[in-house]
Assembly symmetry: C2
Homo-oligomer: 227 residues x 2
């Protein structure tokens, strides 16, 4: 079986990483609010690509467009261009949740592990190299020229490995992502990440019986999969 | 710097791997001749894609077309469909040259390592998992929908990592591949693989001063790059 992992929120803690980096670059800024604002621009930006308003655009560029739009409201329009470029790549420098490295090592002994993220290939590769994420293959919306939840992405993973969709399991902390994968015939594993949006915005992590598996974290997923 | 590796012949020994597998499946067949015949069909098959005669086709499928065309001349048209499918995936089960794993481990400590092969993503991923090749990212003609030596492949690597072409070095055992990369502005490293075509077909491994580096193997390349 192929395990395909959503990345932002499922594998890495974007809220803590972005908060930390923005607070380091600008004293006194509210990192929590900044991280939430940046992330909130993500789905609308991808919708502009999906609708055809924007040509195919990688997440690095979408992140930069959103960044430029929120800097003024945080009193940060005085950042230099090089500071903006550095901050934009904070998404390449996110840390994994504490269970991830040991969980992936166990899962890798039995399954092929790939990413299936809307993040671009360079971002995902830089992140993996820095954090030590042991992917067998980095797959991305960039490979399929379509963003999740487009069926081309989920079916694309099965196509790459020349297997039936039911031989791929999407692992994600987001029910909408999993529902779209399930509609394509993939197996699905929900991972609880109650802290995804930071300490001030608790997340509903209740189980959906439609998923194949529901696990607290990657270690419990490895238990469930007999690794 | 990004190091992008050609794979067949440069990283893995296709001649020995294919010879071994075909001899295991059919007693008495000449594995050396079979491997050379299968590989000889590779460039012509890709040219049919490049010319538009064939729609975009992955190497797994091209390998199968070539296999079907050569089986009769080796008295092997009695293989079952499942034997043919298994043999076709011998390209997923090739072993690396003896210097590869230790060389890549050293190079990985300093550089981002990716493949740049005409092999498809699934093939390259299965090969890497079996052989323990520690790629940071698996890139392929399949990502760029173009076969080497199309400039879209070499420039595609630079694009993925958002760097200038001169910040990418192609590592390959084939001067034509390196020349095409150089024409796109990449750095190039030639690796001698005198046994690529087996013991009966020696290969010219003389140096071309146009390359940035010329190394006997990946260990010497690591020396030259200070790893």
């Amino acid at each position: 079986m192929i395990l395909a992992f959503d990345v932002f929120g499922t594998v890495v803690d974007w809220h803590a990483g972005i908060s930390r980096e923005v607070e380091a670059i600008k004293t006194g800024v509210n990192g929590d609010a900044f991280a939430l604002a940046w992330r909130a621009g993500y789905q609308p930006a991808m919708r502009r690509v999906k609708s055809g308003e924007l040509a195919w655009t990688r997440i690095d560029e979408l992140h930069r467009m959103i960044l430029d739009s929120i800097l003024p409201q945080f009193g940060m329009d005085d950042l230099t261009e090089s500071q903006k470029q550095h901050l934009n790549k904070a998404w390449h420098r996110l840390d994994p949740w504490p269970d991830v490295l040991s969980g992936l090592a166990r899962l890798k002994s039995k399954f092929t592990l790939c990413t299936l993220s809307n993040g671009n290939l360079g971002l995902l590769t830089n992140m993996a190299k820095r954090a030590g994420l042991p992917w067998d293959c980095v797959l991305s919306a960039e490979v399929f020229r379509a963003y999740k939840p487009d069926p081309a992405t989920y079916l694309g993973v099965a196509g790459v490995f020349d297997v039936e969709p039911a031989s791929v399991m999407l692992v994600a902390a987001h029910q909408d992502d999993l529902a779209a994968a399930r509609a394509c015939g993939l197996q699905t594993a929900y991972i609880e990440r109650p802290g995804e949006f930071g300490p001030n915005q608790p997340k509903d992590v209740s189980a959906d019986p439609a998923n194949t598996l529901h696990a607290r974290d990657f270690l419990q997923l490895a238990d469930q999969l007999g690794c």
